[in-house]
Amino acid sequence: MAIPTGHALATALVTGLLLGGLFTVTALGLSLIFGVLRLINLVHGELIVLGAYLSYILLTHASIDPLLGLLVIVPVMFLIGLPLQRILLTPLMGKGAEAPLLTTFGLSIIAQNLFILGFSGDTQALHASYANASLSVAGIDVPQIYAISFGFALVLTAATHLFLKRTAVGCEIRASAEDAGAAEMLGVNVSRVYSLTYGLGAAFAAIGGVLVGLAFSFTPTTGPGYLLTGFAVVVLGGLGSLWGTLLAGLLLGVVESVGAAFWGDGYRDFIGLAAFLIILAIRPRGLFGRAE
C-alpha cells in the first residue's frame, strides 16, 4: 500500500466521482426493473453490450456519432425490451422470484453466444473526438467521457424522477410497484406497466452501453462485469430508490478510485465488492433503502 500525493488523491476523488456517474447510468435500468418488477434482470449486462454493438453498427456503417445515435438506439432497445418481458417473463409473474431470475439468466447465456456468432469475439470500441480527450480542471486531468457520463447520470436520474412523479404513466408505475393488486383494482393495466418498465430498463442499459463503448471497450462477454457493478449500485442504493441509485453509483466510483490510489488498480474491483458486502452486512436494505 502506497500513500498517494495530495494531487493524486484529488484526481482520484474527481475521477471517481465522474466515473461513478457511468456506474449510475449502467445501473439505472437494473434499478428500475428491480424496483417495479421485483426482478433481478440477469440479462442486463447483455442489453448494455447490445446497445454498444448497435451504436458500433451505426458508427461503422452510417458513421453516426455514438451520442447522436442514441436517438435511434434508445427507441430500438425499448422496442426490444417490450416483447422480451411480455413473451418470456409475464407468464412467470407470481411464480416466485427464481423462475424469472433464471429465465433472464438463460437469456444472457444465449445473448453472449449470439454476439460471438454475429460480431466475432473481437474487442470493439466506439471512437469519437470526445472519447479520449481530456478535461483539465484546476490542474486535474479527467477524461471528458467520464464528465459526459456524469452529466448523463444526473440528467437521466432527474428525468426519470420527473417522469415517475409528474406523468400519469409514472404514477401508474409507482402504484404498480407498491401494490400491483390495488393498482389493477383502480383500472391500471399492470402487465402493460411491467413491459413498459422493462422496455425503459433496456433503453437505459443501451445508453450505459454506448458510454461504456466510448470510455473503455467491449466484447461479447463484457456484460457480466457491468451487471455485477450494477447490482452493487442498485442494492447499495436500496430497492428501487432512484436517488439512492445515483448516490450509490457515485459513492462506489469514489471508493474504488480512492482505494485504487492506495492499493493500486489491481484491487479496484475487489475494494468495490468488499465495500459493497460490508455496507450490506451493516445495512441489509442498502444505504438508502427503507424496510419493506
Binding site: G121, D122, T123, H127, N132, G225, S257, R268
Partner: protein, 399 residues
C-alpha cells in the same frame, strides 16, 4: 423419499447404460487420422480462438488436398475435431479427455494462452498423447513441468522483453530513460512485466520510475496512469490483453499523458486494436513473432489466403497455429504410423523452416520464434526492429 430413491436408482442406471452404450458405439472405425483440439470459441478469448481455428483447419485442408498422409502404407485423410472450451481451463481439461478417450485422437493441438494450453497439455502429457501448440510463451510453458508429450512453438519471453530496449538502442532514440512498467498479472504478464522488463531496463541503463500490476478483467487504470505521468516517465511499457489495451490507451490520452514511447505487449498486436483506436494507435509499439513480410516460405500467401477466405484482417496467431498443425502432420507422416510414441519421437526430431521460421525443439520441448518489434503507423504495422528487416522508421510520437 425412499420410493423416489428406488425410482431414481433405476432411472440413473438406465441413463448411465444409455450414456455408456450411446458413446462407446460412437467410436469411429473409419480409415482416418483423428486429431483434435480444444480452443476458446466462446468466452473472453473467443477472439484468439477464431484465428487458431482457421490456422489448424487450413493446415489440415492442405494435407488432405494432397490426398492425406501416408500411414502404414495407406494414404489416410486427416480428421480434425475442434471443441469449444468457453475460455475455461476446466473445460479444456475435460474436452481433452473427451478427444483422447472418445474420438480416440492420435495427436492433439493446443488451445491459446498459458492457462488454457497448460490445462490441456497436462492431460495429454499424462495420457501420453502428443500435443503440439503455439500461443503459449515458452517460460510459462516450461514452468509447469518437465514435459514428455507436449511441444510448444512460440516466442521466448526474454526475447520479447528485451526487444523494446534493443529497438531504442538500434535507433539511438533520445529519451529521459525513465521507464514506467504496468502489466496484468496473468502468467505471461507476470514474467514479462514483473521480472524481465525491470531486469533489462537495468541492463540497458534505464531507470524504472514506476511499476504496477492489475488483474486481467480490470477496466480502469486511472491511478496507475496518474502515477506514471507524475513520475515523468517517457517510456511506458504495458502488458495487457486487447480489451484492456484499448481502454488503457484511451484513458492515457484522456488523462493527457503522452509519453515518447508506448509499448503494449499482447494487446496492441491484433488489427482490432488499431481499428478500435483509429489514429491514436499510431506510434504504439508491440512485439511480434510473425508478420506477412517475414522471409519464410508461404508467409505472404498465408495472409492473403486468410483475408480472402474470411474477409477479415489477419493476426499473427494464424501463423503459429498453422505451423503447429503442420509440424504435427509432418511428424505423423515421418512416423508413418499412428503410434503415439513414434509420433512423439518424430516431433522431437522436427528440424525444418515453416511459415513462422525454423522449428527445432530443445530439451524443454520448446522451439523459439524470432521476435520483431512492430509499430502501428497509419493503421498498419511496420517492422522497426531488427533494422535489417525493417519496413519502416521508428516514430517517437504517440497518437
Amino acid at each position: 423419499m425412499r420410493k423416489s430413491h428406488a425410482i431414481v436408482a433405476s432411472v440413473f442406471l438406465l441413463a448411465l447404460a444409455l450414456v455408456a452404450g450411446g458413446w462407446t458405439s460412437a467410436r469411429s472405425e473409419t480409415k482416418e487420422i483423428e486429431i483434435g483440439a480444444s480452443i476458446p470459441l466462446s468466452g473472453p478469448l473467443a477472439g484468439f480462438g477464431s484465428f487458431v481455428k482457421w490456422g489448424y483447419q487450413a493446415a489440415v485442408k492442405d494435407a488432405n488436398a494432397k490426398g492425406g498422409i501416408m500411414v502404414g502404407g495407406t494414404k489416410m485423410k486427416v480428421k480434425l475435431t475442434l471443441l469449444d472450451d468457453k475460455t475455461d481451463p476446466n473445460t479444456v481439461a475435460s474436452n481433452t479427455d473427451r478427444l483422447i478417450t472418445k474420438d480416440k485422437v492420435s495427436a492433439l493441438l493446443g488451445s491459446c494462452t498459458p492457462s488454457l494450453v497448460n490445462a490441456g497439455a497436462v492431460v495429454a502429457d499424462r495420457a501420453r498423447i502428443p500435443l503440439v501448440t503455439g500461443c503459449d510463451p515458452l517460460e510459462a510453458f516450461k514452468s509447469v513441468k518437465k514435459w514428455e508429450y507436449a511441444w510448444d512453438i512460440f516466442f521466448w519471453e526474454p526475447d520479447l522483453a528485451s526487444a523494446p530496449f534493443k529497438t531504442l538502442k538500434a535507433w539511438g532514440a533520445a529519451t529521459n530513460k525513465k521507464v514506467a512498467i504496468m502489466h496484468d498479472n496473468g502468467p505471461d504478464g507476470m514474467v514479462v512485466g514483473g521480472k524481465l522488463w525491470p531486469a533489462f531496463a537495468k541492463q540497458y541503463g534505464y531507470t524504472v520510475v514506476y511499476k504496477a500490476s492489475f488483474p486481467v478483467q480490470a477496466t480502469q487504470f486511472g491511478s496507475m496512469i496518474q502515477n506514471a505521468k507524475a513520475k515523468g516517465a517517457e517510456i511506458v511499457l504495458v502488458d495487457a490483453v486487447t480489451p484492456q489495451a484499448v481502454a488503457f490507451v484511451k484513458q492515457m490520452f484522456a488523462a493527457n499523458f503522452h509519453p515518447k514511447v508506448l509499448v503494449i505487449e499482447k494487446g496492441a498486436e491484433p488489427v482490432q486494436f488499431a481499428q478500435a483506436l483509429g489514429k491514436q494507435a499510431d506510434g504504439i509499439i508491440v512485439g511480434g513473432y510473425w508478420d506477412a513480410s517475414f522471409p519464410f516460405p508461404g508467409a505472404a500467401q498465408l495472409r492473403t489466403r486468410y483475408e480472402k477466405e474470411t474477409g477479415q484482417t489477419y493476426s499473427q496467431h494464424i501463423a503459429d497455429s498453422y505451423a503447429a498443425a503442420q509440424v504435427l502432420l509432418d511428424a505423423i507422416a515421418k512416423a508413418g504410423s499412428l503410434d503415439a510414441a513414434k509420433i512423439n519421437d518424430a516431433i522431437s526430431k522436427t528440424n525444418k523452416t515453416y511459415v513462422v521460421g525454423p522449428v527445432k525443439f530443445d530439451a524443454n520441448h520448446t522451439s523459439r520464434l524470432p521476435i520483431v518489434e512492430l509499430q502501428w503507423q497509419g493503421g498498419e504495422t511496420k517492422i522497426v526492429w531488427p533494422r535489417k528487416q525493417a519496413t519502416g522508421k521508428l516514430l517517437l510520437k504517440i497518437g
